[in-house]
């Protein structure tokens, strides 16, 4: 049967099981959109208001579902607007396929209208990319793109399709398999000798610690992780993206470590004698200064990407392989253990952290952690998509997650503006679940045009703006590192509730503690989207904090209650 390039694109998406595509049409992908109207493919197209939003939606969909998220834009500016979203997905190993229109092959390379070298631009922020100039290659490339995006360590793949390829016609032969000579993802367990050696290290450890990342979620290793932790009595710390990989109510859960990790978590990292890192890149936000990280520990590093093992730290035992399969082989070799002293030591450190808890302190101001905890009190178990900045760290500290894929955030790239569109994407992946956006007033304004998408697509997401009138994390650094010179960090904001109303979204502004719980309840019980504008304490700080380049042992701690009003001590 003869199909046009445009039809091949849609047929391939349907064959891959795609149910929703996010994007914007434009001059160089009109043939693709015309085919969509003409043939009524069984998938849903979501028109976004900006291409960056489309990329984040595809990413959010992928993170919430584990399936490939798809976005689609035109050439030139449409495609370059995807770059931030692709880089975000790339850093956090999120499977995304982006399909962009390109000028016709007859114009390619001649600086045609809306021409940009999109494969060149996106090369460093995609797992792979393609420029399609020959329609005969299109069916194979579509299949390869999905295979590459989803397999091994997942990541974004971009397909740039020339306009005349979209409009051309061929007799389609669908590929029956994908065989790439240079791509053999490690979808097996690590070698058994390595696993046996790791088991010996773990069995001999007195102060073992596990640290988990996004890889546990991608691999679906949650059950095996919990089995290992329980069998050998090993506490579990997390990177930011590992937070929903292990139930945070579990007695062995230590929450997030690193720059804004709790002190007891960082002390555990710095004092453990064997550290088992699973699906975590061990980047600088988690480790602090590389040379001073976990100085007493032999590190076992389980990761599917060989290039991550030993990239930043010296690894005693590299285990390159799939996390779940590797843990399955490791588990029977690990002896049951009780690390009573070690656990007691961590508990003692934790007591000190609890004493400093902001929520335990007498204050009447609307502090952000209070708002976050109130959302948790009512909406525990929801999918929470946080943006980037102070509120993101407070969410990580004060909203414990229990289920895999319930906490979505831009960890690696730290992309402000991620949360709202990513939450829209997540709501398509899991339509029956409550989805919350926790976002700062700065980040919200970077992609707030997607409020229109919320309405057009009837998304019922709940948006909590932690509004402090600053680029809060910038202001915090200026506070600590730059002697309170608030250079370009104060924000003059619109009235977000009025703004929401303009879009047809119900909203409330909350200025005092007493109104928080009711407002959250109203939002939850309103059938439709809801925006809550929390006017919080403008000068609140996220603690603990490890200053850049410093050791995790060297934290700025939360002030003790008796020290409130002054600056914090160590």
């Amino acid at each position: 049967m003869k199909l046009t390039g445009a039809q091949i694109v849609w047929e391939a998406l349907v064959r891959e099981g795609v149910e929703v595509v996010f994007g914007i049409p434009g001059g160089q992908n009109l043939p693709i959109f015309d085919a969509l109207a003409k043939y009524e493919y069984p998938l849903h197209f979501v028109l976004t208001r900006h291409e960056q939003g489309a990329a984040h939606m595809a990413d959010g969909y992928a993170r919430a579902s584990g399936r490939v998220g798809v976005c689609m834009t035109t050439s030139g500016p449409g495609a370059t607007n995807l770059v931030t979203g692709l880089a975000t997905a790339y850093m956090d190993s999120s499977p995304v396929v982006a399909i962009t229109g390109q000028v016709a092959t007859t114009i390619l390379g001649r600086d045609g209208f809306q021409e940009a070298d999109v494969t060149g631009i996106t090369m460093p922020v995609t797992k792979h990319n393609y420029l399609v100039t020959n329609i005969n290659e299109l069916p194979q490339i579509m299949a390869e793109a999905f295979y590459i995006a989803a397999s091994g360590r997942p990541g974004p793949v971009l397909i740039d399709i020339c306009r005349d390829v979209q409009a051309g016609q061929i007799d389609v032969v669908w590929p029956d398999k994908v065989d790439l000579p240079g791509y053999r993802p490690h979808v097996t367990a690590a070698p058994v000798e390595g696993i046996a050696a790791a088991a010996r290290l773990i069995n001999e450890a007195e102060r073992p610690l596990i640290v988990v990342g996004q890889g546990v979620t991608i691999s679906g290793a949650h059950a095996q992780l919990q089995d290992l932790a329980e069998k050998a009595d090993i506490p579990v710390a997390s990177s930011l993206l590992g937070l929903s990989a292990f139930p945070q109510s579990h007695p062995l859960a230590l929450g997030m470590g690193g720059m804004h990790g709790e002190a007891f978590t960082n002390l555990a990292l710095q004092n453990c004698d064997v550290l088992i890192a699973i699906g975590a890149r061990l980047d600088d936000r988690l480790t602090g200064a590389f040379a001073t990280f976990a100085p007493k520990a032999k590190i076992v590093h389980i990761d599917i990407d060989r290039a991550e093992v030993g990239k930043n730290l010296t690894i005693a035992l590299p285990l390159v392989g799939d996390a779940r399969l590797t843990l399955e082989l490791l588990l029977p070799l690990v002896r049951p253990a009780q690390h009573t002293e070690w656990r007691a030591q961590i508990a003692a450190w934790r007591t000190d952290t609890d004493r400093r808890d902001i929520l335990a302190q007498e204050t009447t101001t609307l502090v952000p952690p209070y708002v976050i905890r109130q959302i948790y009190e009512q909406a525990a178990g929801s999918i929470v998509v946080s943006d980037v900045g102070q509120h993101q760290m407070w969410e990580a500290q004060y909203f414990p997650h229990e289920r895999p894929r319930s906490h979505l955030t831009s960890g690696g790239l730290g992309t402000m503006g991620f949360a709202l569109p990513a939450a829209i994407g997540a709501s398509f992946a899991r339509p029956d679940e409550e989805v919350w956006v926790v976002v700062g007033d700065g980040g919200f304004q970077m992609t707030m045009c997607e409020l229109a998408t919320v309405i057009q697509e009837e998304r019922k997401i709940k948006i909590a703006i932690i509004n402090n009138g600053y680029l809060g994390m910038v202001r915090q650094w200026q506070d600590i590192v730059y002697e309170k010179r608030y250079s370009a960090s104060p924000l003059v904001n619109p009235d977000f509730a009025a703004l929401a109303a303009a879009y047809g979204i119900a909203a409330l502004r909350i200025t005092e503690r007493g109104a928080v719980a009711d407002a959250i309840s109203t939002a939850r019980h309103t059938d439709g989207p809801f925006l809550l504008d929390f006017r919080v304490d403008p000068l609140a700080m996220v603690y603990p904090m490890v200053l850049p380049g410093k050791s995790n042992s060297d934290m700025l701690r939360r002030p003790l209650p008796e020290m409130m009003g002054g600056q914090e001590g160590k």
């Binding site: 090369m123 460093p124 797992k127 420029l131 000579p181 240079g182 791509y183 060989r306 290039a307 990239k311």
Partner: protein
């Protein structure tokens, strides 16, 4: 320490850019890079010389292997390998004395005279980097007018491959 690394890759548009872009953004210090056809149709072979410690070399290999179009990577530094480079050197040759001396030198280095002009000679020399460096060094006093070098290519010796040390894509 300098390493000689061979990488095999699919001969597709943009592959060289992918490799070069990777070297640039990861900060790998590349001294030379040569790419050409291999014995297998559709597979190009790249030889490059990179300066780095063990951690860097581990990154060079594993990051390169992640590129979808790269089919194999092999660091041959520690292996018995034939490493060669070719250079064309145009050297000023004024007067028969200079000319004779240059040609004698070329003989010693097994270089060929590939072009003769009124004021200059062009030599073609093949060998390891050191040999080429020293020939150029010796020619300097006559006036080296132009040099073009291919960069190093390498192949693991048959004896090593037969002993099982070889590695092929």
């Amino acid at each position: 320490m300098k390493h000689v690394v061979i990488a095999w890759m699919e001969d597709k548009p943009g592959v060289l850019t992918r490799v070069a872009s990777l070297f640039r953004r990861r900060g790998f210090n590349i001294e030379s890079l040569v790419v050409g056809h291999s014995e297998t149709p559709g597979i190009s072979r790249m030889t490059f010389v990179v300066d780095g410690d063990d951690r860097t070399m581990n990154q060079v290999e594993s990051q390169l292997e992640k590129l979808i179009n790269v089919t194999a990577v092999e660091d041959v530094t520690a292996k018995p390998a034939v490493v060669r480079e070719m250079a064309l050197i145009k050297v000023a040759a004024q007067g028969s004395e200079a000319r004779t001396e240059i040609m004698q030198m070329a003989d010693v280095f097994r270089a060929k005279v590939v072009d003769v002009g009124h004021q200059s000679l062009t030599l073609e020399v093949t060998g390891e980097e050191d040999k080429i460096e020293s020939l150029i060094g010796l020619l300097r006093r006559f006036g080296v007018l132009e040099v073009t070098r291919t960069g190093q290519v390498a192949i693991v010796r048959a004896s090593a491959k037969e002993n099982g040390n070889g590695h092929r894509p």
